[in-house]
């Protein structure tokens, strides 16, 4: 059932990007966070932009935030502009970006804004109570928590390939090490493998430190036609490939528990559109809601063979300074995972990396970055983008 991949009719570029430091923002409202991410994004445009005049439309990503774009219109002063709210579980921020890119590529608009925000911590009970079982309208007989959904994949991967709990822990260690270098990270603290293994078991084989934190956050980017990009900056970042794919909703109807099939398909679409291969990627921001997700994604994104995700982390390949740094930002694990904002924030990190603006966590000589963001329990949907600092 694989779909034919066409290239974007108009090339698309990112010319501005900003976010707020992720964390526990009890002092800020949803609107405060939106406004700060927006201001940071507008201020990042090297040659300046007049938003009310030049931004023609907005894609707004949130899972639990206000339903319509009216909040964004009010907060940003972009009142009257078309604002489309996108919701695609934890892949919301990526799908908002994807739809904005497609509208520009189609020629409908020249300059648009993507803005995403999630306030997760004001809710009593946190994630489990807020999102509840992953299948809210189904009885508990086959409902499950989010950590459990991903743990099912971890268990099967261990069974088929001999992957060890320590391999998952190593991914947490790496992402905390990277995240400690990132001033935008929620958790800026290094940990050791023993810390992960000593932390309480949430859903075996996942320990507490295999799980991303519950985070408030917001991020925004400006997307425009590539041929207009130099009007805004001498260092635009180009969108070379985009892919999106789905799984059956119910976990037992999926074909595999060692492969996240939507990731394989979304990556195929993105690589094909960009006309590149996995070996061409210099670094990646990969969805690590739970550490096994990142391990399995090394394989599904084509960074290593199926079953070799454990070896990939063991050999240090995805570390900063390694052959293929993964999650220089610290990932969802350390940077944080404000669900609807996560994908947009990954694009912001890639924008910074490709412009050599990532400070202590800079990937040396980065020219091509891959962004990967999944949504739903174990995943229901996966989104992949490929960006570069040179147009090809």
């Amino acid at each position: 059932m694989s779909i034919e991949i066409r290239s974007l009719r108009n090339k698309v570029a990112v010319v501005g990007a900003g976010m707020i430091p992720f964390g526990e923002h009890y002092d800020k409202s949803f609107e405060d966070m939106l406004a700060e991410a927006y201001i940071n994004c507008i201020n990042s445009v090297d040659k300046g932009i007049d938003p009310q005049k030049e931004i023609e439309a907005v894609w707004y990503g949130t899972v639990m935030g206000p339903a319509t774009g009216a909040t964004v219109a009010e907060v940003t002063g972009l009142v009257g502009k078309p604002i489309t709210r996108v919701e695609n579980a934890c892949a919301t921020g990526s799908d908002a970006f994807r739809n904005a890119c497609m509208a520009v590529a189609a020629g409908l608009y020249d300059v648009v804004l993507v803005i995403s925000c999630e306030k997760m911590l004001d809710r009593p009970g946190g994630l489990i109570e807020a999102i509840g079982r992953a299948v809210p309208h189904y009885p508990w007989v086959y409902a499950i928590t989010m950590p459990s959904a991903f743990a099912l994949y971890a268990t099967r991967h261990m069974h088929e390939f001999g992957t060890k709990i320590e391999h998952f822990a190593m991914i947490a260690v790496k992402n905390h090490k990277h995240g400690a270098l990132n001033p935008y990270s929620h958790i800026r603290r290094e940990i050791k493998v023993e810390d992960v293994l000593k932390s309480p078991i949430v859903s075996w084989p996942l320990h507490l430190l295999d799980c991303c934190p519950i985070t408030d956050g917001a991020a925004a980017v400006i997307v425009c036609r590539a041929d207009l990009a130099k009007k805004y900056t001498d260092a635009p970042v180009y969108v070379q490939g985009s892919g999106l794919a789905t799984n059956p909703f119910l976990i037992h109807l999926r074909k595999s528990y060692v492969t996240m099939e939507p990731t394989v398909e979304a990556a195929r679409q993105a690589y094909k559109m960009a006309k590149i291969e996995p070996k061409d990627i210099d670094f990646a921001e990969v969805h690590d809601c739970f550490t096994p997700t990142e391990l399995i994604s090394y394989e599904d994104l084509g960074f290593c063979k199926k079953g070799e995700g454990g070896k990939f982390i063991e050999e240090g390949i995805p570390y900063l300074g390694g052959k293929l740094p993964v999650n220089p930002s610290g990932g969802l694990k350390s940077h944080g995972h404000p669900i609807g904002a996560t994908g947009t924030a990954q694009i912001v990190e890639i924008f910074w990396q490709l412009r050599n603006e990532a400070g202590k966590r800079q990937v040396e000589g980065a020219e091509i970055g891959l962004q990967h963001n999944i949504g739903g329990a174990g995943p229901q949907v996966s989104c992949v983008h490929i960006l570069s600092n040179k147009l090809f």
Binding site: I128, E129, G132, R133, P136, H137, Y138, P139, W140, V141, Y142, I144, T145, P147, S148, A151, L152, Y153, A154, T155, R156, H159, P200, I201, V202, S203, W204, P205, L206, P248, L250, I251, H252, L253, Y257
Partner: protein, 128 residues
């Protein structure tokens, strides 16, 4: 968030009688029942009851559950003898004994209680 009464009523043939849909074109069995085959897209489906015995494909042992649910809760994907797959919780099983490929059978059990309403349904029990 509690499950609404109509949700129980609509799902009761699957939850209580284990009704599934079998595709007459490609043979795929899908639980719960549906109108379109997930595999080949055919709408020519018949109702079947899934086999009562199967093997664990993968599992997890959850120590953090929403209020009111028992812990640890062992949750598994199970492939039944007829090829149908189901997800659900295990019962009468020590977390130390659960493993991939372990044979299990379906039993009818109390599942949970929400807002004073008890929910019943199927669970998997190790075959001894």
């Amino acid at each position: 968030m509690a499950t609404a009464f109509p949700d129980f009523w609509r799902l009761s043939p699957s939850i209580y009688r284990l009704e599934a849909s079998k595709c007459k074109k490609c043979g795929k069995i899908m639980f719960p029942t549906r109108k379109i085959c997930i595999e080949c897209g055919s709408t020519d489906l018949e109702k079947v009851e899934v086999a009562r015995k199967g093997k664990i494909v993968t599992y997890t042992i959850s120590y953090i559950m929403p209020r009111g649910a028992e812990t640890p809760a062992i949750y598994a994907v199970v492939e039944m003898e007829d090829g149908a797959r189901l997800t659900g919780y295990l019962t009468e099983c020590d977390p130390k004994e659960v493993k991939v490929d372990m044979p299990v059978e379906i039993v009818f059990r109390r599942i949970s209680e929400e807002e004073g309403r008890v929910e019943y349904g199927y669970k998997f029990r190790p075959i001894r």
